[in-house]
Symmetry: C2
Subunit: 222 residues, 2 copies
């Protein structure tokens, strides 16, 4: 388990031997789940640092009519619901279901706190990890505040290009990932890119985008 844990964002920079020392000195539990088993239910209190050490899980949420709304997959060695251990609403935001046979490590909240006080690397890793989550969400909200996909894309491209009118830029995400980020379908995203190209505002070739008319892009974004 320790070599796997050293690949988890929480133990980055800590050797498997150090991790073994650290965890053997800390109260913890390891539980096995079979494929399809419910690992945690939405609104359950998050009482422990919870790390998937083997297998994969999905997070899902049923709406009020029973329809499953959102699905997110996580693979070992990722922490589960780690931004929900602290704070006023320390509850699972989704149902967590095992996709394969899984092994999960639990370190109770108070013991995890003590561990972070003893080990600065784990503390920094955890702070980075929940701050990354906040920054990602804050960035996504910013883009969602623009009404049309065209506005979102114009903002996104302008943010990526610090340069002038012919700035060439490389998209850091695939069109599939971009579509998910903006909360739209992939065809809808592709259509907007194609419109922008027909209008002579950008040219696009795979992930390379050239901004041909920066002023028009600014107009769309404003």
């Amino acid at each position: 388990m320790y070599p796997i844990l050293s690949k988890s964002p929480l133990f980055m920079g800590v050797s498997p031997v150090e991790i073994e020392n650290m965890i053997s000195q800390t109260p913890h539990v390891v539980k096995n789940f079979s494929k399809g088993q419910l690992v945690a239910q939405r609104n359950d209190e998050v009482k422990s640092l919870t790390i998937l050490v083997e297998g994969s899980v999905k997070g899902e949420m049923a709406d009020f009519s029973g329809k499953i709304l959102k699905i997110e997959e996580m693979q070992a060695p990722k922490p589960i619901a780690h931004a929900f251990i602290f704070g006023e609403h320390n509850q699972y935001p989704v149902d967590v279901v095992a996709l394969d046979d899984c092994r999960i490590l639990y370190i109770p909240k108070a013991d995890f706190l003590a561990l972070m006080q003893r080990n600065a690397t784990v503390l920094i890793n955890y702070l980075n990890s929940i701050s990354n989550r906040t920054q990602f969400l804050s960035n996504r909200l910013w883009f969602l505040s623009f009404k049309t996909i065209k506005e979102k894309i114009a903002h996104y491209l302008l943010n990526l290009s610090y340069g002038g009118a012919n700035a060439t830029l490389i998209l850091p995400k695939s069109q599939q990932e971009l579509a998910e980020f903006f909360g739209v379908t992939r065809p809808a995203l592709a259509r907007v890119f194609s419109d922008l190209e027909v209008e002579g505002i950008i040219s696009i070739k795979r992930r390379e985008v050239v901004i041909r008319d920066r002023n028009k892009l600014i107009e769309i974004a404003s």
Copy 2:
């Protein structure tokens, strides 16, 4: 400064005397800013824990055409950009401008880390505080994923009411706050509430809402 700091979410549960001891043992700087002065610029690296100890500031962001887009106000004794000290994008998300004459306390990141390792209360307060931010953003994103205001409100009311068809519930936010939360105007929000009332789905009197037709509400939310 110490009695004020004891009212800050970061020092909750720590007495002014303890705060004074703690901070006098930690490298720190206090800076004064005059009304209208730029405190930090968007994309500046956040290098310190930054707490407003006197006065108020606003966060603002100009869009690509120069128009100011978003404004947020913060009053002493609130921390500034505290979810942006750690993580990969540890940069101010907005310009910060002094609204009055201000005093600001800075504790460098490394010294703040050492302080959290020594003092469990400050560590827990900080973890709670950034986790609350993540949970708030995650909740807002969830509501923004519904397309119409009516869908958002239906979800919001169903979340608040665990009860049956005639569940009475009290809105925890004013209509102004709700409108901001959903990212819509107050009149648009009021119109939807009034529609839902005319359709016999809810009745509403100030902050008290009675759900009269839960099935219809579920239908709207789905």
